[in-house]
């Protein structure tokens, strides 16, 4: 839900408008935004949610889409495992942000 509400604006602004020069988001401003622990926590939550959203949906897409019922446990372990691993990476990056 959170990703559905936030991602279109994020993608449009940060990765299309700013590189094309239509909008400006200077480095200082972004660093300033990341200074408070609350914003870092919010970003951590956002990244975690988007990863687990993918893990859950992708698991069932493989299950239903490619008819891989017999690999159910393996697929679950792999998708949720990847999401957990990347969540830990996200935590490490956000924790050690200067």
């Amino acid at each position: 839900m959170v990703t559905a509400l936030v991602l279109p604006a994020l993608v449009a602004l940060l990765w299309i408008a700013v590189p094309l020069g239509w909008a400006d988001a200077p480095r200082d401003r972004l660093i300033e935004l990341l200074r408070s622990p609350l914003s870092r926590l919010a970003l951590f939550g956002f990244v975690t949610l988007s990863l687990f959203h993918w893990a859950h949906r992708f698991r069932y897409t493989l299950y239903d889409g490619l008819q891989l019922y017999h690999l159910n446990q393996l697929i679950a372990a792999v998708t949720y495992g990847i999401a957990t691993l990347l969540t830990l990476v996200a935590g490490a990056i956000l924790w050690t942000f200067p």
Binding site: L10, L43, V47, L66, I93
Partner: protein, 138 residues
Amino acid sequence: MRPDSGYRLYHPKWYRRRMPIFWWLGKFSYTKFITREMTSMAVAYGGLLLLAQIWMLGRGEQAYQSFLSWLRLPAVLAFHLALLAAVLLHTITWLNLAPQALVVRLGGRRIPDGVILAGHYLAWLVASAAVAWLLLGR
């Protein structure tokens, strides 16, 4: 015959039709469904790219500038335009399901679907404005 002779009733396995692996290419509505589910990959990519940008922000001016110039490559821009389309599909299909998922009754009467839908789209607008305000400046 002893009562516990171990005799078990035989029952044949239920017939289960085997589905072909590309069943979803058969009808357009199936393909639409799988496409919708695949937009979840765009969501994960968005989250990870945000993380990468945050990491580059912390690594110094040089690293961040090289990240920005990577973002400006035409291939990358084109990919991100496709990403925007995928993310929009994800959002619109998700929000359109809200009236079916959220059935609210006030005083015995059910709130109409249009109201719930409008509420969700309004929330989307507010969230987008908040993101723009945060990123671009007060």
